[in-house]
Symmetry: C2
């Protein structure tokens, strides 16, 4: 494959293989990416911090990622780079060390490409990033820059985070793949926190196989998805009340995903939703709001004038939640987490909408995280599969959800689904 | 009670009540503590950072803690104070903001007294702190300064952390009370991490009731222990293999705790230990070592010459653990966590040794965390009860362990046990 084709396809897995086979050099790859960034960053605005010389200077590193550049959401500490959290409160703040996830990427052979735009403290107030598929639309949030950088072909990989729907939502809106891993798979340390019960890292790549390669390389675990595995996942569809919020296009996309999976031979069943999960969905709002207030107490107590009005109000509201309600919500969450294995008694994975619909026009909001709240609360691995789109060509992600701790299954089934939806491997 | 008596008893609960009743002023209290620090800090060496003027300057704050000073282990970010993590790598490092736990203490009316000594990155290499009960002995680690500051009467309260036995061990050695809360009760954010699966905060006070008051004030949850509650806990004793490591004195202390509890009317039973918990105990070592290597990767990759030889080797060893072994250990941990509720089918709480014995002579090691590893891994709330001692008068802590999420029960039963052991409330 030519350098141009490699960069256009932007598959980290293919590029790493080409570098390993000495078909291209990492220098050529970097120069190519830099050209893409030079051409379109003015519009996309994916980066909060980007240093052109450092981007080109870093050399090949030993490891599966072969020196490929990885973007990090600007709430993740990288030694010697600003970490501004999308807030003037942390303007020019330069952490002293790398967050463990950064070290793990470096040890896997990746290099730090720069910091990608986050909404204000990874909450709701948007940053400047636009959707690479249509600059009049939101890229989603809060990992706006990470999703957009991969979608725009600026980088093969990026790291984001998710507390409500902050990784999977932007993946859906921008048309890239993402994994929100099982809670605890990788360390959320050296990273700005907004909820100690919910905060999770997220991995972005162009396709599910790229994401699996990235997650496998970073963790050293056997997560990579192999070609040609003959496996028919048993797929469940559990229509929660929140599905009432999805658009007609997304509803059709789910039906299409089910139909195409059935056509390929998969077993697809509707599952009833136990009230325990509806309760947990409601609990997620309360837990996120309550814990956000604690995690941002320093900022509101010492720099309230530098917070957006929206966030300032959200923090105050969070402090006014009765503690007993929070305790009850945590209890509801724990019950649902324990019951989550029951969701997979008769199926291997669930599929669900990655967002309520396609990215909306306008940059004032980053879209609703509601479709992702439950999976984040339950801590289940969730992969957003790109491939489908609405009538106007805007992407619609389909989530594949697996049991707690089985990120491999989520990735395998998601890769199967991506093949199915893209028509690449019909039976 | 006179000011001198109040300071001598060093009960944060009593002092807060006296301040609230205007029997003493917070200024008098601070001046009293400062005198104690001036007299003995030279020997105890509890503080990594202490600013006398700031200590005296801060005024009464609204909230249950009534302006009382709280010490924070020197791996916890406090805005504007050094956070050196017991390592020259972070010499003069001053974080930009407070960790959420610091904000929560401030909002509960507490003030930051200073930073207390930690072993190197909260691992095994000791800091300079000595045991206030005997300066030739270790105070335990890694929360050495937090336990010692409370034991020495320098502060009514301090915050530590625990990954193996770093909160409960020092409490046992120094003769103070401590709570290692349920995993997730309070946010471990803005705090140096060494294990994302295990790291937990810890609360120190002179007595169990003080610790309950501190934890209740910070979280807003109903954790305070009331006087005169007529309750007979059903107590279980589960002798794990690791109990073979305890000293004759500690063994006698456990027997004494059982006998005195029975005499007071409690139901005390021996419980069998399911192999799932012995497996989980073994898994704890591996998880801690594996994750420590990831959490300290930046330090070994960029500043290895500034690490102790012990820690450097531990990090290298952690990177050499096969990932598959780690995955199996996490699986063993999750199984044991799910099974942990079974431990409490017939009893309210377990009692167990807080350490293998009394603090040993010498400052070269901080003692073994082994007796605490399982409780930390299971995430169960654990309270160390002071009151007993060995033949030479050195303290021996008894741990009270409750089911996941029931910190209140752990504190109530521990308070009951403390009354029982101190003979203060015989039936």
């Amino acid at each position: 494959m030519s350098l141009d084709d490699l960069l256009k396809r932007n598959s980290g897995l293919e590029i790493a293989a080409a570098v390993a086979a000495r078909q291209v050099t990492i220098g050529e790859i970097r120069t190519g990416y830099l050209a893409a960034i030079a051409e379109r960053e003015r519009i996309v605005k994916a980066f909060a911090h980007f240093d052109c010389e450092k981007f080109l200077a870093s050399t090949l590193v030993v490891g599966p990622l072969e020196g490929l550049p990885v973007g990090f959401k600007d709430i993740i500490d990288v030694a010697g780079m600003p970490c501004e959290c999308g807030s003037p409160i942390y303007r020019n703040y330069i952490p002293r060390g790398d967050a463990p996830i950064v070290s793990m990427v470096r040890r896997a052979g990746g290099t730090v490409a720069g910091k990608t735009v986050t909404s204000e403290f990874a909450t709701r107030e948007p940053g400047p990033t636009t959707n690479p598929r249509d600059p009049t639309r939101t890229p989603g949030g809060s990992s706006s820059g990470s999703a957009a950088a991969v979608a725009a072909g600026f980088l093969p990989f990026a790291i984001g985070t998710q507390t409500g729907g902050s990784t999977i939502g932007p993946a859906s809106f921008c048309g890239v793949a993402a994994l929100k891993p099982s809670f605890g798979l990788v360390p959320y340390s050296g990273i700005r926190a907004t909820s100690w019960t919910l905060d999770t890292l997220g991995f972005y790549g162009r396709n599910v196989r790229d994401v699996a390669f990235l997650a496998g390389s970073i963790t050293g675990q056997d997560l990579a998805v192999n070609d040609g595995v003959q496996w028919m996942p048993r797929i469940g569809v559990a229509r929660m009340k929140v599905w009432e919020q999805i658009s007609a296009d997304m509803s059709e996309a789910i039906v299409a995903a089910c139909d195409m999976s059935k056509s390929r031979g998969a077993h697809v069943v509707s599952l009833p939703v136990h009230p325990i999960f509806e309760n947990a969905y409601q609990a997620q709002f309360l837990i996120q709001d309550f814990e956000k207030a604690r995690c941002l107490a320093f900022e509101i107590d010492t720099h309230s004038a530098l917070l957006s009005a929206t966030l300032e109000q959200a923090i105050r509201d969070g402090w006014s939640i009765p503690v007993a309600h929070y305790v009850a919500a945590i209890d509801a969450a724990k019950r649902a987490q324990a019951a989550s294995y029951d969701l997979f008694r008769e199926v291997d994975v669930l599929i669900a909408p990655s967002a309520s619909g396609a990215a909306s026009i306008g940059l004032e909001t980053t879209g609703s995280p509601n479709l992702n709240r439950l999976w984040t609360l339950l801590g289940l691995p969730c992969v957003s599969v790109p491939s489908l789109s609405d009538g106007s060509g805007m992407p619609l992600g389909i989530s594949v959800v697996a049991p707690m701790g089985d990120d491999r299954r989520a990735l395998r089934a998601a890769s199967w689904l991506q093949e199915t939806l893209s028509g690449g491997a019909r039976c």
